[in-house]
């Protein structure tokens, strides 16, 4: 379980860095099937490009690193996907998803979310039940990341492949087309990055060393340390 967490972490960082690098070769995003510099973009990121064919308004080019970025992006995607498969099967079989991640029935109210959010905002320490269990906000965040954002990023990634879509054309069509898939892929990666930042911030706030020790060794000694 902890191994899948760290494998995903390594793969995700590789995907993030190479994905960011790939964006600079065409920092414009479109909706629909097609889009190019002769098409009006949905939005463009105001950065210089690594291609002189893209009108960016900057008169210099970024270095082109697409070759190894593409190789590494797809290799890391395989690591993430296979790890996710192992994690998913384990999570289902062991009941980890049901017991630890699905928000508890009594918390299926706006009230529960608002209360826990207020507790965060007032910077009140977590209650004793949270030493061994996730609260409703944590559970929701994990469920969204594991069951929405990760599957969606795999889907949108594959929907950009001309080969994969020849076998499964609906994977692109359902999203509105290849360029829509690329745009959703980009936004999704932004949401995953946001999750990573919040996640790491929370770990830092709750005691970076003890949390890291727990996630690496599997032993939580919080209670005996009496932090």
């Amino acid at each position: 379980m902890r191994a899948t967490h760290w494998l995903t972490f390594i793969a995700f960082i590789a995907l993030l860095v190479t994905g960011g690098e790939l964006v600079i070769s065409h920092p414009r995003f479109y909706w629909g099937e097609v889009g190019n510099v002769n098409t009006k973009p949905l939005f463009a990121i105001p950065i210089p490009s690594s291609r002189d064919t893209v009108p960016t308004g900057y008169n210099y080019l970024m270095p082109d690193q697409n070759g190894w970025s593409r190789y590494l992006h797809f290799e890391a995607a395989w690591v993430a996907m296979l790890t996710g498969l192992v994690y998913g099967i384990y999570g289902l079989v062991s009941g980890h998803f049901r017991k630890n991640l699905l928000p508890e029935r009594r918390d299926w109210t706006w009230r529960a979310y608002a209360d826990r959010m207020a507790q965060y905002l007032r910077r009140k320490p977590p209650g004793s039940t949270e030493e061994s269990s996730y609260n409703v906000l944590q559970r929701t965040a994990y469920v969204v990341v594991i069951f929405v954002l990760f599957p969606l990023i795999i889907w949108t990634g594959l929907a950009m492949s001309p080969s994969f879509t020849s076998a499964f054309p609906w994977t692109a069509a359902l999203l509105g087309g290849r360029q829509s898939a690329r745009t959703i892929h980009f936004i999704d990666s932004g949401l995953l990055l946001l999750f990573l930042l919040v996640h790491v911030t929370m770990v830092a706030v709750s005691g970076f060393r003890s949390r890291m020790r727990a996630m690496i060794t599997g032993y939580s000694r919080d209670s005996s340390e009496g932090r």
């Binding site: 190894w68 950009m160 080969s163 020849s166």
Partner: protein, 253 residues
């Protein structure tokens, strides 16, 4: 504690043995069925091989996506090309009447074809998307003769494993495909676009279009096809000029 460790050890050992065994079997099967790309070595080799093998198995019989005529892009984008050589300009001035396609290698009848010769073969039109690895794309109608028609004409010998294709700058612009892609009717020796002749910025007079792979696999200005049983003999042995410049040989993703 002791008991659990031992059980864990046994499970771990069994899992590792199964993993190694599985990988060995997979590797042998992949080699046997040609599922390892020419650039399948090095640190990116495992990812590249997985991608190529899976997509090759998935797409053996799947036709490229085609689009309705109404979706043809009004302003297709011709990517930047290196300035034409004097030789190219001379051929262009002559309406490409002297453009020749040489077909050789492991074939029964080596051929030298003019564009007029190519046009006597069965022609085909298809509306497909060009998707660049950079992210942009456009849809156009492409008209030409399937590569398979030329291969049939030349009598490709059974030992052939790949078709190598060269642009008019053969040293730095060449590529290759496996026989699945070579026989695919969508792999088109393209001479026309959107009802007219194929313009030079889009690869005219002759471009090998392959809509199930990204744009960089569809090389412009084709002058030479070579059938071969050993792709390692070409260039640095990586299957195309792309890996020599850092890009993957397989461009299905």
């Amino acid at each position: 504690m002791n008991k659990i460790s031992r059980r864990k050890l046994i499970y771990g050992g069994v899992a590792a043995a199964a993993g190694v065994g599985g990988l060995t079997v997979a590797d042998r099967a992949a080699r046997r069925y040609g599922l390892i790309p020419p650039d399948g070595g090095g640190i990116y080799g495992p990812g590249e091989t997985l991608t190529y093998a899976c997509q090759r198995l998935l797409t053996v019989h799947t036709p490229a996506r085609e689009f309705p005529r109404s979706m043809i892009s009004k302003n297709p984008f011709a990517n930047a090309i290196s300035p034409p050589t004097d030789e190219f300009k001379r051929l262009q001035a002559g309406g490409f009447r002297d453009w020749r396609l040489v077909v050789d290698g492991t074939v029964a009848h080596p051929l030298v074809l003019s564009l007029a010769d190519l046009k006597t073969l069965p022609m085909r039109s298809q509306i497909t998307e060009v998707a660049c690895e950079e992210g942009w794309s456009y849809i156009a109608e492409w008209i030409g003769t399937p590569l398979s028609e030329v291969l049939r004409e030349a009598g490709v010998l059974p030992q052939t494993r790949s078709i190598v294709y060269f642009s008019y700058q053969p040293n730095d612009w060449w590529d290759s495909i496996d026989m699945t892609d070579a026989w695919d009717p969508h792999t088109l020796l393209t001479m026309g676009m959107n009802g007219g002749d194929l313009p030079a910025p889009f690869g005219g007079p002759l471009r090998l279009r392959m809509p199930r792979q990204l744009g960089y696999k569809s090389i412009k200005f084709i002058t030479h096809l070579t059938a071969t049983d050993d792709i390692k003999k070409f260039g640095k042995g990586l299957g195309s000029a792309s890996p020599e410049g850092g890009y993957a040989w397989y461009a299905g993703i």
